[in-house]
Amino acid sequence: MKHIISALVENKPGVLAHVAGMFAARAFNIDSLAVGRTETEDLSRMTIVVIGDDRVVEQVRKQLAKLVPVVKVQDFVGKPVVARDLMLVTIACPPEKRPEVFSLIEMFKGKVVDISTRHIMVEVSGPEEKIEGFINVCRPYGIKNVARTGTIAMTRQ
């Protein structure tokens, strides 16, 4: 099962290495990992998506909490959360295809952020399924490049 784990970590050099190293050493599989600053200057938030049975994910949570620079760990499974992924994708799109591609983009509430004669770059954000869905519908046109942030998430108040 997929779990979104959110960890507040000290904003210090080497923290990412501590976390990534622990995952590798304990043979945990990371599906995605996103790191960024928070409202507090000296804390960052890592959002980690892991797939595993409950025992494994429980160990992931405990081993993360055990790392000295990790301040707080939450497993969002079963909680009301908003989870989002951001993607930039470049799609092959000659001028004659633009109308149909643009309507797809609209359906997915995407944004065209760059355009050239044969390609367009689109920004899409949303739950992971939506991103996957967009990739699927664009595939027939030819996908040149994909860059994704990995999931970030927050519980609803």
Binding site: R55, A65, K72
Partner: protein, 578 residues
């Protein structure tokens, strides 16, 4: 660096507030109560060693940094105080690896300082540069590099705090040489520990403690599975009170030996792969397994699915990640055994459990730990039994790894904690001799004996000259079977007696000892064993006794890898010796 405000430029009152990094290290360590250190020199730690020249430490220089790290580790194990070891950058730091991993696996409080190249050279493949924090991250409880002298004092305090609290472990501080020499106005920096992510759970949860006590009171066939955590917690007395109040049988892990007096009737001695048959049978038939400061290692559980199949599992441990890691726990109690045990004891009732104790007594009668003493060749087990007699069971025993270690665990009955010092988790050959040195430094009055294997001793025997230099009267008992005995045993049992590369040509260990300035004795007849032990124990100098023992003796019983605890091999052999 520095220069801006030299001490002379300040008023005399403030003079003492300006310190170099090296001075900060020394002063902070003194303030933390450190009086003993192990370490080795090198270019980038020279400023630090210059400060150590007139610092009030008992300083021990090993012959190899690995030895130094094991010494600091054993010093910590026997005293309960954190060990301190220093090494230079690059090769020095790399030589610490085995020692750090050994301490990590056995949860030993240790603080290691490594020198590092100048901060502006880091990452440039500078002379003797190694990414020490990168290399040691998975084998330390925590590590960090200090790049600003202002952080140094606080970081050292944090390192000692982390190493010694919660589940103890090694912490490494990497110290670039420019930080050692740069100056800091101590009146302007905070030395207060600042570790928002390091939270300790010391006190056990009240409801879980009630649940634990209820489960014990209800149990007809309980058994304790006591580990190194009880020794780390200094909770041997609390354990004894609990056992006496409720009347419970006690098995111990290799790391837990000494946590409970093995000469008492409740003791089932060691459990696991080479544990006693009566401990292993008790585990397999119990209805409640009470794990205290033990971590369900695969050497203990055998086949996990079939471990203690009838039992509810109660687990007391300070590290939440130890709980339900390998085996599902029914009643977890997270916290310090020292706090939890007395609180459970208070709620316990005495129960006779006559049937259960009778059953155990029968196993003890039928399958005692025994061996065929013979009379032509020295049996390794016999040497240990005689040593136990001669030392009244009071020696601090360190070990190598292999058969020697298992026989020491089986035949030397410990009655006090911090007396059996062995590399359990990593199984580091070569640990025994440096560990004996560290133990003797920590307990100068104790009789310290390294019970070692010939191949293990070969790995670090150079440290004998360290013992000679510091006039440490350690004793080394080599159970010399001329084999990597434990490996040979596996080859005999599982590889058709094909003894591939498991036999070394050893030097004459007694002659080596003499050459290094220690006393060397060699014995090959059973009737000379007692005399040699007596001679050894009377030495003021380090003494090595090379016991040429039976070459192909096996350790029994043995749970083959992947089997369950009751599927022990060798019981028939043991019975035939009756």
């Amino acid at each position: 660096m520095g220069g801006k405000s030299t001490p002379t430029a300040k008023s005399p009152g403030k003079e003492s507030n300006i310190k170099t990094g090296a001075q900060i290290v020394v002063d902070t360590l003194v303030d933390l109560g450190v009086d003993t250190m192990f370490g080795y020199l090198g270019g980038v730690v020279l400023p630090l060693f210059d400060r150590l020249y007139d610092a009030p430490f008992n300083f021990i220089i090993p012959r190899h940094e690995q030895g130094g790290c094991h010494m600091a580790d054993a010093y910590a194990r026997v005293t309960g105080k954190p060990g301190v070891v220093i090494a230079t950058s690059g090769p020095g730091a790399c030589n610490l690896i085995t020692g750090l991993a050994t301490a990590m696996m056995d949860s030993v409080p240790l603080v290691a300082f490594t020198g590092q190249v100048r901060t502006d050279l880091i990452g440039n493949d500078a002379f003797q540069e190694a990414d020490t924090t990168g290399i040691t991250r998975p084998i330390t409880k925590h590590n960090c590099i200090v790049k600003d002298v202002k952080d140094l004092a606080r970081t050292i305090r944090e390192a000692f705090h982390i190493a010694t609290t919660g589940r103890p472990g090694p912490v490494l501080i990497d110290l670039p040489v420019d930080v050692e020499v740069s100056q800091c106005d101590m009146s302007k920096v905070s030395q207060e520990i600042d570790l928002p992510g390091y939270r300790l759970k010391h006190r056990g949860h009240a409801r879980q403690i009630t649940n634990a006590a209820k489960a014990i009171n209800k149990s007809d066939r309980p058994v304790l599975y006591v580990g190194g955590g009880v020794i780390a917690a200094d909770a041997a007395q609390e354990l004894r009170a609990l056992v006496e109040k409720a009347h419970l049988p006690v098995s111990m892990t290799l790391m837990g030996l000494g946590a409970f007096d093995q000469t008492r009737p409740e003791s089932l001695d060691m459990l696991g792969m080479h544990g006693s048959a009566y401990a292993n049978y008790a585990i397999q038939e119990c209805d409640l397994l009470v794990a205290i400061g033990s971590r369900f290692d695969d050497r203990v559980t055998g086949k996990v699915k079939a471990f203690a199949p009838q039992a509810k599992i109660l687990h007391i441990d300070i590290d939440p990640s130890s709980i339900s890691k390998n085996v599902n726990v029914d009643i977890p109690v997270v916290g310090d055994a020292k706090d939890i045990l007395p609180r459970i004891t208070e709620l316990l009732e005495y129960r006779e459990r006559k049937e259960w104790f009778e059953k155990i007594a029968n196993w003890k009668k039928q399958f005692p730990l025994r061996y065929d003493p013979g009379d032509k060749v020295i049996k390794p087990q016999y040497v240990i039994e005689r040593l136990w007699e001669a030392t009244g069971g009071n020696a601090i025993v360190t070990t190598g790894v292999g058969q020697n270690q298992m026989w020491a665990a089986q035949f030397y009955k410990f009655h006090k904690p911090r007396h059996f010092i062995s590399s359990g988790g990593l199984g580091t050959m070569g640990y025994g001799l440096p560990a004996a040195i560290g133990a003797q430094v920590g307990q100068p009055e104790a009789v310290v004996v390294d019970i070692d294997g010939d191949s293990s001793f070969n790995m670090t025997m150079t440290e004998l000259s360290t013992a000679v230099q510091y006039e440490l009267p350690i004793k080394v008992v080599i159970l010399n079977n001329g084999y990597m005995g434990m490996v040979r045993q596996w080859q005999e049992l599982f590889y058709n007696k094909r003894y591939s590369q498991s036999c070394l040509k050893n030097p004459e260990f007694a002659a080596v000892a003499e050459a290094m300035g220690a006393v060397g004795i060699s014995v090959d007849k059973p009737q000379d064993v007692d005399k040699a032990i007596k001679q050894m124990l009377s030495q003021k100098r380090p003494c090595v006794v090379d016991f040429k023992v039976a070459r192909e003796e096996n350790v029994w019983p043995m749970v083959p890898a992947g089997k369950s605890l009751h599927e022990m091999d060798g019981l028939d052999i043991m019975e035939s010796m009756a």
